[in-house]
């Protein structure tokens, strides 16, 4: 037996090997990428051998990756210098990846200790779902994450012993390791401080020190005076208070006098989702806190979703650099946790009323239990005896990065299955939030020499199969590849917002028309919903941009289709485009309802993409989101709401400060299941407000044909109530924070509508 083989055999059988000093530090990557000081370089070629006691068991299926981000990067489309998606260090800029099972072997530690495996990649790896298991000794941990720009640290305790330490990696799709660290207990603090801190939640850990020094934290809102805890609060170690869910609770907010004791009450209709929240303020560290809802009428465990509000370091605006604050945002699933002292933990519970739930008032409790004691908070739920009705003339849509777009680039079946799973879960989630429409893209190259356009209609077909399965509704804002045609005819790119556009030759318009005709023929052939042709996103008001928009929109319309433009109709610089626009989509409700109606009468629709309540600002206009989606949308007269975007991330999806812009809206669990944020839940509540209003509208419509005095009287009461509610709204182009109803008042007005529905239905004898 050769010496190398005997060494491998020793490692495999656990025969004693010489112990190495602590810590042992290995930086995985390429032969030429930077090496973290003090670390040993490990490449895809570093195989364990008699002279090399640390390395891979085999080189089968191994490859290395390196991508360095240590400077600003150029965004050619915007013409700007931007921060990179992440900041890398020698440790994170590179990795070794494996598509087959492998083991990294290192010498035993002098005593018991810890092994940490840093997993991730610095490249975007957008089409890759990493799913693998890491095992050390008899303990294994599964790791799943989509794409690169993110890093996870898995820790394993290692007992003292003479055998080499074996880190086993078993991929379902692909594994990726940046570094492996092993150390004895006495080196715990040093390794944590010097090497692993950068992977922690500590503010700024993700950035180089000189970059983080530029970031200034905005103050938290004034917390208010802390009330004196009762003897009972002190005994169990926490206060509990309830604030309406649409009003934020920041980490140090003190409970207000009217929030104690908490009063949890809600009303809802069968099939409706309804949230309620309460907050635990620990007076000392609490361990193993659990929350359960019990005895709430017909609600089964599956009808109750318990989450806690995660505070995120966030930017005050999506494009703001070097300012941050702490914002309540992500609603992560909650089972049990230790809670630190003096920092609020808000619990966000959403119930879904079963479709067949009987009307009535039900009382139950929310039980909060910790190791040191607990509390039961009464909850009252009233279930109403009617269902909410949809207004099919209005559209609730959203911009969408479709997971299916990752399918062509995915190289393994596990990743493909993941993208399909995520798309399925996201569509379910959208439907559960009232959203049944997304933007899509029809990607084509410019015409070839024979005038033919090449495209993959089958992928879009799959998207429409999903669309249909989930009951989505058209028309579809369909982005088309105008940029490709422009590049062919004008010899360059027009850049973001058409910032570099020049008047194209006439051949451009002819080819655009031909392209739209081709796409339209394919649409008709496949029976897809109507497309609204969307050639350019957010053109600027520059005269050259407006001229180009006139050209490209006219060319689309030549093909006999309708066009879609993201531009504020109120900007008079866009006036030349008007004859060629069928759907104006703008951020504010800046067009008055009379104009909206007049335009609709001549076939021009007005849509809104309310990015100010989907994360473009500071992620906290929760009440503004509800108002935008409900009463505000109703008063606007607009046809559709379609904000940017269901979920978008740059850099690490759980770091809102890295990359050139802040991440948008929903997050994901490791398997791709959506994790909502507060704004997304608020949009659903606004959508429900809208449905309450529409249900009353329909009841009123029925009542108008009924001459009975009791019905007429009930209808008059309903009309008067609606007028009073409308008069209580301060109409605004953008509902964000100011001039809104108090967070609790929304439900009072919703109830005023509900009781008029009950009144009318009762008068009509239903």
């Amino acid at each position: 037996m050769s010496r190398r083989l005997s060494c491998l055999a020793a490692a495999a059988t656990g025969i004693a090997a010489a112990a190495a000093a602590s810590p042992q530090l290995f930086d995985m990557g390429t032969a030429s990428s930077s090496l973290e000081p003090g670390f040993t370089r490990i490449t895809a070629e570093s195989i364990v051998s008699p002279g090399t006691p640390s390395g891979w068991e085999t080189r089968d299926g191994l490859r290395a990756q390196a991508r360095v981000f240590t400077n600003v990067v150029t965004n050619a489309s915007r013409g700007t210098e931007e921060p990179p998606p992440i900041w890398t260090t020698p440790l994170t800029e590179d990795a070794v990846l494996g598509s087959r099972g492998n083991t990294f072997i290192l010498p035993p530690l002098p005593g018991s200790g810890t092994v940490a495996v840093v997993c991730g990649t610095s490249d975007a790896a957008r089409d890759q779902f990493f799913d693998f298991t890491v095992a050390v000794g008899d303990r294994e941990q599964r790791l799943r994450f989509e794409g690169g720009h993110q890093f996870r640290v898995l820790r394993f305790e290692v007992p003292a012993g003479p055998a080499p330490v074996r880190v086993r990696l078993v991929p379902r799709s692909l594994w990726a390791v940046n570094a492996i660290l092993a150390w004895s207990a006495e080196d715990d603090a040093r390794v944590g401080r010097e090497f692993l801190r950068r992977f922690s939640d500590e503010p700024g850990a993700w950035a180089p020190p000189d970059e983080w020094a530029k970031w200034k934290r905005d103050p938290d809102p004034a917390p208010g005076p802390m009330p004196e805890p009762s003897a009972e609060d002190r005994a169990r170690g926490f206060l509990v208070f309830a604030r309406p869910w649409a009003e934020c609770v920041f980490p140090h907010d003190a409970p207000r006098a009217d929030e104690i004791p908490p009063r949890l009450r809600l009303f809802a209709t069968p099939g409706e989702y309804e949230p309620f929240t309460f907050t635990v303020r620990p007076l000392r560290p609490l361990s193993a806190v659990r929350v359960a809802v019990r005895g709430l009428g017909p609600l089964a465990a599956g009808d109750i979703d318990i989450r806690r509000v995660r505070y995120m370091s966030a930017r005050p605006n999506y494009s703001t650099m070097h300012r941050w604050w702490v914002a309540p945002d992500v609603l992560e699933r909650f089972e049990s946790a230790d809670l630190p002292a003096d920092i609020n933990t808000r619990f966000w519970i959403t119930v879904r009323i079963p479709d067949d739930a009987p009307a009535g008032i039900h009382t139950g409790v929310v039980a909060v239990a910790g190791a040191q004691g607990g509390v039961e908070i009464p909850v009252t739920l009233r279930i109403l005896p009617f269902r909410l009705l949809e207004d099919t003339n209005r559209l609730f849509g959203i911009y969408y990065h479709h997971p299916y777009d990752r399918l062509p680039g995915a190289t393994d079946e596990v990743s493909r299955a993941h993208f399909r799973f995520r798309a399925e879960r996201e569509h379910e989630d959208m439907v559960a939030h009232g959203t049944r429409n997304v933007t899509l893209s029809f990607s084509t190259r410019a015409a070839d020499a024979q005038g033919n356009f090449r495209f993959n209609g089958d992928l879009l077909q799959e998207k429409f199969d999903l669309w249909k399965r989930h009951g989505f509704r058209g028309p579809v804002a369909m982005h088309i590849s105008a940029g490709e045609v422009y590049a062919k005819h004008a010899g360059g790119r027009y850049g973001s917002h058409l910032r570099g556009v020049k008047d194209p030759p006439e051949s451009f318009a002819r080819e655009m028309t031909a392209m739209v005709r081709t796409i339209e023929a394919e649409r008709v052939r496949r029976g897809w919903p109507e497309f609204l042709y969307y050639p350019v996103d957010e053109p600027s008001t520059d005269p050259a941009a407006v001229r180009f928009m006139v050209t490209v929109l006219r060319a689309c319309k030549e093909a006999g289709v309708r066009t879609y433009v993201t531009a504020d109709r109120a900007h008079e610089a866009f006036a030349p485009m008007a004859p060629h626009v069928d759907v104006w989509c703008m951020q504010p409700f800046s067009v008055d309802p009379v104009t909206v109606r007049r335009e609709a009468a001549r076939g021009v629709e007005t849509w809104c993409y309310p990015n100010h309540i989907s994360g473009e600002n500071n992620r906290t206009p929760v009440a503004g989101a509800r108002m935008t989606y409900g009463f505000g949308f109703r008063l606007s007269g607009y046809r559709a709401l379609i904000p940017w975007i269901y979920s978008a991330s740059g850099g690490d999806p759980m770091n809102y400060l890295d990359g050139p812009t802040q991440d948008f809206l929903n997050r994901h669990e490791p398997d791709g299941t959506p994790v909502p944020v507060t704004l997304w839940e608020a949009m659903r509540e606004g959508y429900d407000d809208f449905r309450y209003l529409h249900t009353l509208d329909l009841a009123l419509e029925r009542a108008r044909g009924d001459g009975r005095p009791a019905v007429r009287a009930a209808a008059a009461r309903a009309e008067a109530e609606l007028a009073e509610i409308a008069a209580a709204i301060r109409v605004q182009p953008k509902y964000k924070h100011d001039g809104l109803w108090n967070a609790a008042e929304f439900d009072v007005h919703r109830w005023r509508i509900a009781r008029r529905i009950l009144d009318l239905e009762s008068a009509m004898g239903r």
Partner: protein, 305 residues
């Protein structure tokens, strides 16, 4: 130190009575002028012309005129559809530190041959040394052919402690090419009341449940000297009957008080703020709505048998 009440209930005075929905009457307030026909040092203009109108002001006095001819093709090469503007730079500490003032007051009128002004006719921008802490707001209140007084609360400004410049601008995109618009600026000033004043008094919620335990009330107290306190009473009334009340004492700033409530009958109520025997602000309307969680009447769907 307790102030105001020594003057009986009149401490809030006429200014408070005028603090109606349209905003307080600030005419008697202390002010520091930041821009006017006579305060123009370090004033610059771009894509607009600034002139003085000797009798163009709101009371026949002088005014500054910012004249703009909207040009979608000229102006700055990079931004032909740009932002015609005037800006005043502040160098004196007293001009830059706004934290002891309560409002920025702008008296503005727009003249144009257009049928109407666009929705956002003019914008205000305030620069801070840290650009990220700058502040901007559209001045949608500006009216064609009418003098308008606009009050921007200083507390709304991101960093009022060091304002380095103030800009008034239009966005060319909001106008049509060739439009002419003139903004007459009577004065831009920092203002604060000389006497205690109650502003922005309103119930936290204009509609509440009949079994609400408390009604939160929000308001701003201004004109109270440093360390001083003013007292107020709040009453919720059903007609002439007082059904809930609370007392308050506090200094300058934003406050939230709670009015304890008994079980209420559904219907309209009014919320009153009183300084001594006098109304300190116009009463606010509160609608009380029956609670959905009250026991259901027999026979109602879902009621207990």
């Amino acid at each position: 130190m307790r102030v105001g009440l020594a003057c009986g209930g009149s401490w809030l005075g006429a200014a408070l009575v005028a603090a109606a929905a349209a905003g307080p009457d600030t005419s008697g307030w202390e002010s520091r002028v930041l821009l006017s026909s006579s305060v123009t040092s370090r004033l610059s203009a771009a894509e607009s012309a600034v002139t003085v109108e000797p009798a163009g002001g709101p009371g026949g006095g002088a005014a500054l005129r910012m004249g703009v001819v909207v040009d979608h093709f000229g102006g700055e090469a990079k931004y032909p559809v740009g932002w015609p503007r005037i800006a005043r730079e502040f160098r004196e500490a007293a001009d830059r530190d706004w934290s002891a003032w309560d409002y920025l007051r702008l008296r503005v009128r727009a003249d144009t041959a257009r049928a109407a002004l666009p929705a956002a006719p003019l914008s205000l921008s305030l620069r801070a040394p840290d650009k990220a802490r700058s502040f901007s707001r559209t001045l949608d209140e500006v009216r064609k052919g009418e003098w308008t007084e606009i009050l921007v609360p200083v507390r709304a400004i991101t960093d009022p402690s060091d304002v380095t410049s103030m800009t008034l601008s239009i966005s060319d995109a909001n106008y049509s090419h060739g439009d002419r618009v003139d903004f007459l600026i009577g004065e831009v000033s920092l203002v604060r009341p000389r006497e205690p004043a109650l502003l922005e008094f309103a119930p936290d919620a204009g509609a509440i449940w009949s079994d609400a335990r408390r009604l939160p009330v929000r308001f701003r107290l201004l004109g109270v000297p440093e360390g001083g306190r003013a007292t107020l009473r709040f009453e919720l009334r059903e007609g002439a009957t007082v059904v809930g009340r609370s007392a308050f004492a506090g200094g300058r700033g934003d406050h939230r008080a709670l009015v304890d409530l008994p079980p209420l009958r559904p219907g309209p109520y009014t919320l009153h703020a009183l300084a001594g025997p006098r109304e300190a602000a116009p009463a606010a309307r509160v609608t009380v709505v029956e609670s959905p969680w009250a026991p259901l009447p027999p026979g109602a769907e879902g009621a207990a048998p």
